[in-house]
Assembly symmetry: C2
Homo-oligomer: 239 residues x 2
DNA sequence: CTCTGTGAACTCTTTCACAGCC
DNA sequence: GGCTGTGAAAGAGTTCACAGAG
């Protein structure tokens, strides 16, 4: 997002050490997670070929092989990939082995859906704190955690040491919540509030906008028939 | 490349290169929705320049101008864009004027969060049916609608004529729900279940995976320090 | 002068196709 | 034969920088 500063003097030196190409492109990273999910359904010790794995993951084989090639050469030509090895390598590459302590702000419907998300603990995430501004919610227990007052965020977070924050509050509250989280040392934020957040450059921010997704879907639903109607109208008017 | 705005009369051939500005790239479409949201906070009749609008929308000015250029030439050089005109043009381009009838399946926490989503009605979406498989939920009322049994989907959907479906069920139920929706005439599906759906080619599918977003965030949280260390090491070794 | 619209360069991503290994 | 890994080409998206309108 932000301009990655100086490429003025580009590094002509590639391969200083050449352990392996460590840079995993953004697009690849998101698919690797998908492969990992699919791999979990194969038994360890099995061998799987790119075509089958790709089919199961909903991508095409060439793309999958290209993606995996960023990790190194873990396939065997003429054979395929060992499920156990591949699982391990992807996990390592994505850092899925390290645990993350997560604080969730806003325990409305969306927040509770997130708190109850089953894939949470399963993938190295530990929910360590819940917050809300609503006195009605504060003190209640969800997902085995008591909801704290957002006003106490500084103290609670200092104690619980979260590194990831999830914002599931109304848009109006999101910015101040983000600031609280950042002040408490959170360096990665997943924001579900439909608004733009300002955060320091060293904080990684990810935005998920449910309304926007719906509108994009509608756009595609529209544009296809509309294009057609448009073409038809043109043909008609020209005759 | 593109000129437009003249109601240029094209020939009867569809390959005539008359109407250019019609193809909006995917990446641009998603940002246009963002601009629309920001524009709502300006008063109609005002003029806004690309720099300001871009700042408010969180993109850079050149990108914004490029995006808007896909719509046609609605800006005035040396001046800026008229808020009212721009709002209208973006809405038209995105088809935000047409209403969409939405069916939502799964009224658990996530489903209720979606049902209660405020930006729903505000942007041409009308929730027309709610479904769940849980007898506990069936019959309850959320967001002004009674929850129907998913078993009755065919009948209810035939009557309510939804064009967009939202799946907010557990992963295991998603595929069969998708098939029900498709059979009932739904041609656009927004899927929140963390699984791959198989749908016919003419059905537009959009996937939102909350767990995946979280894991991607964690990936960046992990990889950034490493990247940095790597860059530093390179700089050091080269000087 | 300010600000838009866009060619051109650039970077990121996908796709093809085939060499090389089993 | 089957399959991986990857150069090379194609495509999508971004950024630069400037001509030209007001």
């Amino acid at each position: 997002m932000s301009k990655t500063s100086g490429s003025m003097q580009s590094g002509r030196r590639m391969n200083a050490d050449a352990e392996h190409a460590r840079v995993i492109p953004e697009a690849t990273a998101s698919r690797l997670l998908g492969y990992l999910r699919v791999l979990n359904e194969y038994s360890f010790g099995r061998i799987v070929c790119s075509r089958d794995l790709a089919l199961a993951a909903g991508v095409d084989a060439a793309k999958l092989r290209r993606d995996l090639s960023f990790l190194g050469n873990y396939g065997v030509r003429g054979v395929g990939y060992d499920v156990a090895t591949l699982t391990a390598e992807i996990s390592i590459a994505l850092g899925a082995h390290t645990a993350h302590r997560v604080a969730l702000v806003g325990v409305g419907n969306l927040g509770q859906a997130l708190a109850g998300y089953s894939g949470f603990a399963g993938h190295g995430f530990q929910l360590v704190a819940l917050f809300d501004a609503d006195p009605e919610q504060v003190g209640r227990t969800t997902a085995g955690l008591q909801v704290n007052d957002i006003a106490d965020a500084a103290t609670v977070l200092a104690e619980r040491q979260a590194t990831i924050g999830i914002i599931a509050t109304p848009a109006g509250a999101a910015q101040s919540v983000a600031e609280l989280l950042v002040a408490a040392g959170v360096r990665s934020i997943l924001n579900f509030a439909p608004c733009l957040l300002e955060v320091p450059g060293d904080v990684h921010l990810r935005q998920v906008d449910l309304g926007l997704e719906l509108q994009l879907l509608a756009f595609h639903a529209n544009s296809r028939p509309t294009d057609l109607a448009h073409v038809i109208a043109e043909i008609r008017s020209s005759s």
